[in-house]
Each structure stands twice: as structure tokens, then as C-alpha cells.
């Protein structure tokens, strides 16, 4: 059953129950009050009749002689008293002993025996009877006269009170029917109004289930439904964001696998091709050496690639050993490692370091800067210099390390892609140097884990500056995470 119908039903049941009870009690009370008044009136009338009859009877007893005379006189007294004061609808019966000595309506009235039982002298009994669709009240008073019981019974019609009860009940029923009808209509519209946002929510969650995450509920208001709508919107946004992140992740994975397969195909082709030549052709000694050398160098390249790949995967999965790293120590270590390979091209490493303590994994930071310096070396001409500059910074970025070269530089297109896996600015040269196209993506990943960002500034023929900026807290990194050009 729909929620709106439930609301409607519950309200209607509660309303009709309460209205019914209240109405019933009101009518009942009203009726009782009316009936009590009637009973009082009847008793008063009976009192009047009784006192008149008793008064006349006393006088008669004083004047008359015998008992029979008094009893026959009693009938006359009845007529006189009753004739003077009775209303049309009322009757009076006088009973002396077991005989009815007087009946005002000349009828043998049906009088229940209970009217006469348990009566004391001066006491009254009354009862209400229904005769021929009319209601009558009988009031009995009791006294002793001439050695016998004297009962004076007055009868009065009180149908009005009952008619009124019926009238009120009927009126009330009509009233309650009308009210419930009216309230149902109003409640229906109210519940429709109240549940409309729920229906909207329902539709939206249905769409989300069906896979359409880019939806919003246009429900406002501070009530629970409004809050729920707000939360559903937040949820939809979050789901959308996550799904998009997942999609991006899958895409980058696929791209990575595609790049990897492509990258591995080149050494494979070379190795298979030259070994095929070696096994199936008569080659001269020189040709054999040439072919074997290609196989050897491409095999080496595969080895470098697998090593870097392993590092990349390892880094993505594992935590770093973070600790304080003195920039001076870092500089010494870098000098020690890079000097032999720089010497090869007679390149000088010029350092200008402001002392500071970085937070990070020293070995990995060394890997990053060896990589950057090696890149600078590859780009530089023989006999030139590579700079390593360290500067303290203010605000959120607290330190900056620059690797500067005056080498061949890169185009803006290359700068955009240099952190992509397997991207090489100059393939043939990079291959010759034993590159796998993974160095910078590895470095970028390490730096990301250090809350540091790599900025690359380069122009063709003028050289390249690689700026590594260390940030205090994570938030700034993500906001600032773009490679400036």
C-alpha cells in the first residue's frame, strides 16, 4: 500500500474513533441530563399529588365516620386533585392495599411489581417504561392509611427526551460522515503534497540503481525529507565521483598495459629478428657481432624495464620509510653516485644548497634526484654544467630543490607528457642511453608520496629546470598539482 494511503487510513481511523467517542459521550451526557430533569419533574409532580391527596385524606378522615366511606372518598379526592393539576400526558393512579381506587385515565395501567418493592414510608420509586413506542416514567410514593398501604403512582410521558436522543444521534451520524468525507479529501491532498518529494526521491534512486549517476533531486526544505533529498544528492555525487575515478583508473590501467605491451614489442622484435638471422644465415664475423650486440643491448633494456616496473608496482603497494633527511646528506650522496657518470661527459655538478631537513624516505629521494640529474646529463653537451639548487620557502611549500641544465631542452608538447609511463622525448637517444621511459613516472610517483610536486620548465635549445617543491600538508598538493609550463 502506498505511503500516502497509509497516512490517510491512519488519520481517518484516529479521527473517526475520537469523533465517535466524543460525540457518543456528549450525546449520552446530554440525554442523561434531560432525563434526570424529567425524572425530577415527575417526582416533584408526584410529591405534589401525594401531599394534596394526603391532605384531603386527612380532612376526610376527620369528618367521615367509617372506613368504607373514607375509601370511596379516596376516589373522589383523586379526581379532584388530579383534575385540577394534571397535564394531558400525565396520569395518576391511587392504590390502597391491593385495589386501585383511582385511575385518572380509566385504564388498568400496567405497573411492574418492582415499583412497590423495597419502599419505605415517604420514599419514592421510579421506573421508565416503553409503551406503544412512547416512553413513560412511573413514580410511586408510599404511605400507610387506614391500616393498609397507600400508593400514589404518577405516570408522565418523557418521549421527548428519547426523541431528542434519536434526533441527536442521527444528526451526529450525518455530521460525522460529512466531516470524515471532507477530512479525507483534505488529508488526501495533504498526504500527496507530503509524499511527492518521496516519489521524486524514489525515481532518482531508481535511476541511480539503473546506472545513471548524474541525477539530482530538486527537493528543498529543512524537514527530514529535505535532508534525505540533500543526502541522496550528496550520495549521488559521491557515487558519480567514485565511478568516474574508477573509470579513469581502469582507463589508465588499460593504457599502461597497452603501452607496456607496445614497449616490450620493440626489444622482442629485435631479439627475435636478429637471433633468427643468426640461426638461419651464414653471417660474417662482423655481422654476427653486430646482431649479437643488438640482442644484448635490447635484452639489457628489457632488464632495466622490468626492474623499473617492479619498483613502480612496489611503490604503488607499499608504505615508505619516512624520516628526517638532511639536505646536506642528500647532496653528498647524490654527488657520490652521479660523479662517475657525469665525468664520462666531463659535466660539472654545481650545488648551492640552503641547509634544511626534509621529511621523507632518503633512498627514494636519492633515486628521484639521481634520475633528474641523469636526465640533465643526457640533455647536456659535453663539458657543460648541471646545477642542483636548494632553497627554503615560506607558506605551505617549505623547500624547493631545483635541477638545472643548459642542454637541448624540450618542446611544450614533450613537457606535458614526460611523466607518462614509457614516454621518451627522443626515443633513439634514450634507447642508446639505456632508458626505459619509466624514470620520471617513477620519480613523480615517489614525489607524490612525499607530498612534493614536480614542476618542469623547459624551452628548446635553452635547457630545462626541474623544480621539486615540498609541501607541508597534503591538501595543498592536490590543489596545486599541475605541472607549470
Amino acid at each position: 500500500m502506498k505511503f500516502r494511503y497509509k497516512v490517510l487510513m491512519v488519520n481517518l481511523i484516529a479521527l473517526s474513533l475520537s469523533l465517535g467517542v466524543v460525540g457518543y459521550l456528549m450525546i449520552r451526557r446530554n440525554f442523561e441530563l434531560g432525563r434526570d430533569t424529567q425524572v425530577k419533574n415527575a417526582i416533584m409532580e408526584n410529591n405534589l399529588v401525594q401531599s394534596s391527596v394526603e391532605y384531603e385524606l386527612l380532612q376526610l378522615m376527620n369528618t367521615a365516620g367509617g372506613r368504607d366511606e373514607v375509601i370511596s372518598g379516596l376516589k373522589k379526592i383523586g379526581e379532584r386533585v388530579v383534575g385540577g393539576m394534571l397535564a394531558d400526558s400525565s396520569s395518576v393512579y391511587v392504590r390502597h392495599g391491593d385495589d386501585y381506587v383511582y385511575s385518572s385515565d380509566k385504564k388498568e395501567a400496567f405497573i411492574d411489581d418492582s415499583l412497590y418493592s423495597d419502599l419505605n414510608i415517604g420514599g419514592k420509586n421510579y421506573m421508565i417504561c416503553k409503551e406503544d413506542g412512547q416512553y413513560f416514567i412511573y413514580v410511586t410514593s408510599y404511605s400507610k392509611a387506614l391500616g393498609s398501604n397507600l400508593y400514589i403512582v404518577s405516570k408522565q410521558e418523557i418521549s421527548d427526551v428519547y426523541r431528542m436522543l434519536e434526533e441527536q444521534t442521527r444528526y451526529f451520524r450525518m455530521l460525522i460522515a460529512g466531516v470524515i468525507l471532507a477530512v479525507s479529501v483534505i488529508m488526501y491532498f495533504v498526504s500527496v503534497y507530503l509524499t511527492r518529494p518521496l516519489e521524486k526521491l524514489n525515481r532518482v534512486t531508481g535511476e541511480i540503481t539503473a546506472g545513471n549517476y548524474d541525477v539530482h533531486v530538486s527537493v528543498t526544505g529543512g524537514d527530514e525529507v529535505g535532508q534525505l533529498a540533500g543526502n541522496v544528492n550528496i550520495m549521488a555525487d559521491a557515487v558519480l565521483k567514485h565511478v568516474e575515478e574508477l573509470k579513469e583508473m581502469i582507463q589508465s590501467r588499460e593504457q599502461f598495459v597497452a603501452d607496456f605491451t607496445h614497449e616490450i614489442k620493440t626489444p622482442m622484435t629485435t631479439i627475435i629478428g636478429y637471433s633468427d638471422m643468426l640461426r638461419s644465415m651464414e653471417l660474417s664475423r662482423e655481422e654476427q657481432i653486430l646482431a649479437a650486440n643488438y640482442i644484448f643491448s635490447e635484452g639489457k633494456r628489457l632488464e632495466v624495464m622490468s626492474g623499473k616496473l617492479f619498483e613502480l608496482l612496489y611503490l604503488k603497494r607499499h608504505d615508505l620509510k619516512m624520516g628526517p633527511v638532511h639536505v646536506d646528506d642528500l647532496e653528498r650522496e647524490l654527488r657520490r653516485i652521479t660523479e662517475p657518470m657525469l665525468e664520462h661527459k666531463r659535466i660539472e655538478l654545481r650545488t648551492d644548497i640552503e641547509p634544511a631537513v626534509l621529511e621523507g624516505d632518503k633512498d627514494l629521494l636519492v633515486t628521484v634526484f639521481v634520475n633528474l640529474i641523469d636526465n640533465a646529463r643526457k640533455a647536456s653537451k659535453e663539458g657543460s654544467a648541471v646545477g642542483l639548487v636548494g632553497r627554503k620557502l615560506r607558506k605551505d611549500a617549505y623547500y624547493e630543490l631545483r635541477v638545472v641544465d643548459r642542454g637541448i631542452g624540450m618542446s611544450q608538447e614533450d613537457v606535458k607528457h614526460i611523466c607518462d609511463e614509457f614516454y621518451m622525448v627522443d626515443k633513439s637517444r634514450s634507447r642508446k642511453e639505456g632508458g626505459a621511459g619509466l624514470g620520471l613516472s617513477l620519480s613523480a610517483l615517489i614525489l607524490e608520496r612525499h607530498r612534493a610536486v614536480l614542476h618542469v620548465e623547459s624551452s628548446l635549445g635553452e635547457g630545462t629546470t626541474m623544480r621539486v617543491v615540498f609541501y607541508e600538508n597534503e591538501k595543498m598538493v592536490s590543489e596545486d598539482e599541475e605541472i607549470s609550463e
Partner: protein, 223 residues
Amino acid sequence: MIRILIVEDEKPISDLILWNLTKAGYCCTCAYDGLEAADILEDRRFDLIILDVMLPHISGYELMEYIRSLEIPVIFLTAKSSLEDRMKGLTSGAEDYMVKPFEIVELLARVNIVLRRYRKAERCLKFRDIAVDVENQRVTRDGREIVLTPKELELLELLMRNRNITLFRERIYEEIWGAEYSVESRTLDLHIQRLRRKLGLEESIKTVFKVGYRMEDTDEVSV
């Protein structure tokens, strides 16, 4: 002489193709990126282009647009082996499509097939006193016609086209019978024996122990 342009940015692979095609008797020129290839194509005519898809500056597909107007057959060379890439390669107008890594025999066979399709391949193969008329499927020795079965003829052609190259059993089965090589099968040995006897090639078709056969042309100077 048939001229082939090799467009491939990976030096080792470019060298490999150059080396083998030169040995097979073609005249080759190398270009290491799309722009260089376009420049070379402006000046000179070629009979065939071997084109790598992934090239710096201009991709193979882009270069293909330019080549199409020249009506030169193209064999695509690519590291991508998915069906989509094959379709893209072939629908872009390439004659054939070769996936890295490839074997030398496969390269030579494909080059030959494409050239034959363009009627640029040699109509007649010659080896000493033997001449094979490829189009008419006729073999003559010293002017006298020799009757060969179709399989024998195919095998002879394969050996003659790949002279001085050891043809491995697997490769021969794949090329001639199109089937997987099985160790027990003596079919190949039987065919080789009959070829030797019919054409007097006992000396020229060498058995490479346990591996395969090689047709040796001692007069030819290795490149």
C-alpha cells in the same frame, strides 16, 4: 631492381629489415620518422613501403593518407595485434599487415606476395640451370621441362626465394602445408629427396641437421 622504403623509428628493427631485404636482393632506403619519409617520397619512387604505425611527429596512418595518392603498396608494421588495429590498418589502404615480433621468412614472404600482386616480383626465378616460371607454374632445367607436383613446386619456390637462409622445418610446414609441424612426419624429407633427384640439386639443397634445409648458392657473395 626493386626499391623498398622502410619507415621505422626503432633503429634496431629498421636495421634488421634493411639487412634482410638487402640480402634478399632488394634496394632499400630507411626513414626514421614520418616527416623524413614524406620528404624522401617527394623525390624518389618506390615499389613498396614498409611502414611502422607508431612514428614520432606523423603517425603511420597519417602518412598513409599521403602515400595513397602515390599508389605504392604498403605493408604496415605494428606492435598492436588487436583485431581493431588490423582492421584499421587494412581499411586505411595497406596491402598487408605485419605484427611485431616477426620472423625473417615471414617478412620476405609478405614482401614477395605484395610485390607479386603488383606484378613487380620477378616472373622467373633462376638457380644455375634451373628456371621457374612463377606465373605459368613451369619448371625447366637446361631448357627441358621438368614435371613437378604442386607441393614440390611450392617447396622449390620457397627454397629459391630464401637462398642461403636456413628454413626451419616448422616454417616450411607452415608455408607449404599450412599445418602444424609434427616430429614424426616424413613428408618434407620425401619432397626434398624428390626435388634433389628430379633437378640434380643433391649438392645445393643442404640438410641442416635436425633443424631444416638450406639452398646454398656458393657463387653469391654474402652482403
